[in-house]
């Protein structure tokens, strides 16, 4: 097993008008599928330019800034989307449309790669710069600016290697998967929606406590169920119908099916405290028995209290 990872950093890509409607339930940061999709598109372009061995196997996404284009009136509790109704239809009327939410972003991507020889690094750097500044889209938005890509080697268990890379990601927040919290809540009996909401709300809870004078005091405390900046994230798709052919499909030669977004919990975490690069990397994963098309974390490192205890007594 090779324990050296070769990584390519695409730092500070500024994206204008990215798609902020990551699923029918969430708004804000674009879906994980959008980031893996962009990297996959980049790989295909490099493959087509003669670098047929290059593969981007997994991806980390770090948000430095994300400005959502929504509106909140003075007394409003909820936000509303600042939408545009373009283009007008043939009679000049505003066309029927579903509101589209947009955001402006500053993100860094870390790509795990194979198939780039040391000697080719400089050529590739130039080619990537060229591709990103031509007409490539990212999460549906336009790329405005970006910094030059950089190559890194990270040996598993070598903190100096790791921090040389993660320092470049600061300040920023890496998105990691926290499906473990959802699964835990679901096996304790909650349905998927309650499992999600329970982790997003602030719980207020009341207690009677006797003070030093033995008088009863009422104390309200407020907290979230779990620590960390937890958010719902769209991480893939769920096939609803059998694979087959459909009329009006974009490409008649690819198997088609109807599908929906799947949403789970994620956490935004500053990368300085990660212990292994795998904590922030995501890769494509399909589960054909359950009809799932996913972006999932390559390795789950978060240990529960029980895991820690078990490993100690093992």
């Amino acid at each position: 097993m090779n324990n050296i990872k070769r990584l390519l950093l695409l730092p500070h890509i500024k994206v204008h008008n990215a798609n902020a409607l990551s699923s029918p339930f969430t708004i804000g940061f674009p879906a994980m599928t959008a980031w893996l999709g962009a990297v996959h598109a980049l790989q295909r372009k490099l493959n087509a330019q003669g670098h047929s061995d290059i593969k981007f196997n997994s991806v980390a996404v770090i948000s430095h800034q994300c400005d959502l284009q929504t509106h909140k009136g003075v007394d409003d509790f909820v936000h509303s989307i600042i939408g545009t109704g373009n283009p007008l239809d043939k009679t000049g009327a505003r066309s029927a449309f579903i509101e589209e939410a947009r955001c402006h972003l500053d993100v860094s991507l870390v790509l795990e790669y194979t198939g780039i020889a040391k000697d080719d690094e400089q050529v590739l750097q130039e080619q990537i710069t060229h591709l990103l500044s031509s007409n490539m889209k990212m999460a549906g938005g336009d790329i405005l600016t970006f910094k030059a890509s950089q190559f890194f080697k990270v040996e598993n268990g070598n903190p100096a290697d790791l921090s040389a890379l993660t320092q470049k990601l600061m300040p920023g927040y890496a998105l990691i998967e926290r499906r473990d919290l959802m699964t835990e809540a679901m096996s304790a009996g909650q349905d998927a929606m309650d499992a999600l909401l329970d982790n997003l709300v602030i719980h207020h809870h009341c207690e009677k406590v006797a003070d030093e004078m033995n008088e009863e005091k009422v104390i309200w405390t407020s907290k979230r169920k779990n620590q960390g900046w937890l958010v719902p994230i769209a991480t893939g798709f769920h096939g609803l119908t059998e694979l087959g052919e459909a009329k009006n499909q974009r490409d008649p030669n690819t198997p088609h099916r109807f599908a929906e977004s799947v949403v789970t919990l994620g956490e935004f975490k500053m990368p300085h405290s990660i212990k292994s690069i795998d904590e922030i990397l995501w890769r494509y994963q399909t589960d054909q028995t359950n009809n799932l098309y996913l972006c999932a974390q390559t390795q789950k490192i978060i240990l529960t209290e029980q895991d820690i205890e078990d490993s100690y007594y093992a």
Partner: protein, 418 residues
């Protein structure tokens, strides 16, 4: 004998019909005529065959294509397939169809909505009428046996509402994505489970507006005791489907006025609004006690235990790291406002902290490490002092072992303090 739900369905329909058609200026015999006409129209013999004919104009669907685009349904190849997904529950940690039980939606010609309502009436046994018709129960047989139409014709007419299409049709107005599978791709037409969208809205509205929650929120405001707690959620965004014509999207959409709620998936941002560039000392000016109190209390508990194992050490490290995480986040926030807020004439910030926090010194920070060594000592002192402040009289005297441990955790974050 009709099921009570069916009976009341018809009496309601008749009442609305009469209200609409009888004008005040009408003569008595005209009114009587109208009443007779009404009875006739809503008699099973007449209404059922008419309704059965119209049933096909509406399709029941868990994922109406109109949520992707209002005009997605009809195209040159016919109507987009109406997806009625039935999927088992899996405890896999995903919010997806099957893992939440929700209502089935319907879409189609709004003029046939009465038929949809009729078929979804809940009978005395708790099943809806449609299920009865599908399963050919006695109730369904009795209802659909009339003088004016054939039983089988009526039945198949009504079942057109849930009929799956014989061929699969998607639309260019539906987002179609490629997903890599092995060395090839699958193409996915993305739809929305509207039952789930409105189930989410209903749960969020209950959190926000239900009477129990209002009462408990009020108790909290007055600091009164409440047996039960409550929950709050922030950062919701409202989205509208179908504009002024929510009925064109789906039945559920129409019932909800076309408004659904979205949860926020925004990352944290380097906070600029509530942060101040320190005048004399970062540690005393930039933190509030409650921000780290819980972590120090947890540490205190760990210090007091007299045994030592990996679990304990791990918990200790985690709490310390969380305090350092907070420190690093603060550091970035302060740096973000340094250009705008630093005033040389009123500042008495030490040169170490100045090098650390002001943007102008970014290069300086790289060049030498002397300031960093001094800073690390300051952080270590701050940790001890804050622990004593949080625990007050309960604080135990920290020994060399604890101090060394503090230093070790800080040292691990050294590169990130630059």
């Amino acid at each position: 004998m009709l099921d009570t739900a069916i009976a009341s369905y018809f009496s309601e329909r008749k009442e609305t019909w009469l209200k609409k058609n009888i004008k005040a200026a009408m003569q008595e015999h005209e009114i009587a005529e109208m009443e007779q006409l009404c009875e006739q129209q809503f008699s099973l013999n007449e209404w059922l065959p008419n309704a059965a004919k119209r049933a096909g104009q509406i399709s029941m669907s868990t994922h109406p294509c109109t949520f992707s685009h209002p005009s997605a349904r009809k195209n040159k190849n016919g109507y987009v397939s109406s997806v009625l997904a039935e999927i088992d529950k899996v405890e896999d940690g995903y919010l997806k169809t099957g893992n939440v039980s929700v209502a089935t939606d319907a879409l189609g010609n709004a003029a046939a909505l009465d038929v949809y309502k009729f078929l979804t009436l809940i009978m005395e046994d708790g099943e809806n009428l449609l299920t009865h018709i599908q399963q050919e129960t006695d109730l369904a047989k009795a209802l659909l046996t009339t003088k004016t139409a054939n039983y089988q014709d009526l039945r198949s007419g009504f079942l057109a509402m849930v009929e799956g299409a014989t061929e699969s049709i998607t639309s260019s107005k539906i987002k179609q994505v490629y997903f890599p599978v092995d060395d090839d791709y699958h193409q996915l037409s993305l739809l929305t489970n509207s039952g789930m969208v409105y189930q989410l809205r209903s749960r969020l509205d209950k959190l926000r507006f239900s009477d129990e929650v209002k009462e408990r929120r009020d108790k909290k405001r007055k600091n009164e005791f409440s047996e039960q707690g409550f929950s709050e959620i922030y950062g919701l965004t409202t989205i509208g489907y179908g504009g002024t014509k929510p009925q064109n999207i789906s039945v559920l959409n129409n019932q909800n006025g076309g408004k659904a709620h979205l949860l926020s998936s925004l990352p944290p941002s380097i906070e600029k609004r509530s942060i101040h560039f320190p005048r004399s000392d970062f540690f005393t000016e930039s933190f509030k006690k409650y921000e780290y109190a819980d972590n120090f209390k947890a540490l205190h508990k760990l210090f007091q235990t007299d045994y030592n194992n990996i679990k304990l050490r791990d918990a200790r490290d985690r709490n310390l790291q969380q305090i350092i995480d907070l420190l690093i986040e603060k550091m970035w926030s302060v740096r973000a406002v340094s250009q705008a807020q630093f005033h040389a004439d009123t500042s008495s910030l030490s040169s170490v902290q100045m090098t650390w926090l002001h943007d102008d010194f970014a290069d300086e920070r790289e060049k030498s490490e002397q300031w960093l060594n001094l800073l690390i000592t300051e952080i270590s002192t701050w940790l001890t002092r804050s622990y004593e402040k949080v625990l007050d009289k309960k604080a135990i005297k920290l020994g060399d072992a604890e101090r060394l441990h503090f230093a070790e955790v800080i040292e691990r974050n050294r590169e990130f303090l630059k």
